[in-house]
Symmetry: C2
Subunit: 133 residues, 2 copies
DNA sequence: ATGCCTGCAAATCCTTTGCATTCCT
DNA sequence: AGGAATGCAAAGGATTTGCAGGCAT
């Protein structure tokens, strides 16, 4: 079993992630945390995020925008990704159960988990006036 | 409208991708193509894959393993990812229609598309004897 | 005191880009 | 000829890692 020793930095990373619902990247988290710990290093943020996701305390996923995102919510759920502003929004968990029923079908092996990303435009962005270039 | 001038390299990239069902990365494709074009450069492969995916001739996705994968099949379909060997296997298109019905529900905006990744272990890997370290 | 954790910087991996040259049309 | 496309190498962004010193137990 892995031994984890307390560290203020890791504590603050967990807290920061817990208080956000925007699924930040390592760098976004780093920028927030620097307000409390001006000396924290990006490497420490990466190291702890990796550690915590390996322990299953947080979730990690990539939605295709080039960097990894992190989530304090580890229960299975889906995400909506706005192509315009990049927002990542949680979808209700009830969808997961319905989807699981669908794939009890023809999987080429044992399925342990699955993720869904929906891509579109969030309602906020839809309301903005579009400038045609 | 974008003008595309013929090039042997791009032709070979398309052909190579068409003949594979393993959803290669840019680098994997590069290694294959080098057998026919020993002088092709990795940059050219990346440039053409980017171009072709922007034109919608091929599909591009990331499944969380750190690099982008490419697919000659552009019709919507889902993927099964083996956690053990990394294989990426196509799932039947029929699932897509069923899933679309599920999310006509509570999306926080306009949904244009979606992707699903199933993670597990493919039947081949399941059959292999596991060595306990 | 021991060993995990940190900050820093260098290293690595993946992808894009600038430039001079070559290849299509 | 003129404009794309290429090869090469350098640059860029994201993430990991090596190391010496610091902190928790």
């Amino acid at each position: 079993m892995k031994t984890l020793k307390y560290s203020r930095q890791r504590e603050s990373i967990k807290n920061c992630l817990m208080n956000r619902t925007d699924h930040p990247t390592a760098d976004a988290l780093y920028l927030s945390i620097r307000e409390e710990f001006p000396n924290i290093s990006l490497g420490t943020v990466y190291r702890n995020l990796k550690l915590l996701s390996e322990l299953g305390e947080i979730a990690r996923f990539s939605c295709g925008d080039g960097s990894e995102h992190f989530d304090y919510v580890t229960e299975p759920h889906y995400h909506f990704v706005c192509k315009t502003c990049g927002a990542i929004i949680d979808l209700p968990q009830s969808l997961v159960h319905k989807t699981e029923e669908l794939m009890t079908g023809p999987a080429p092996g044992r399925v342990d988990s699955h993720t869904i990303f929906f891509y579109g435009e969030c309602s906020e962005c839809q309301q903005k006036i579009k400038i045609i270039c």
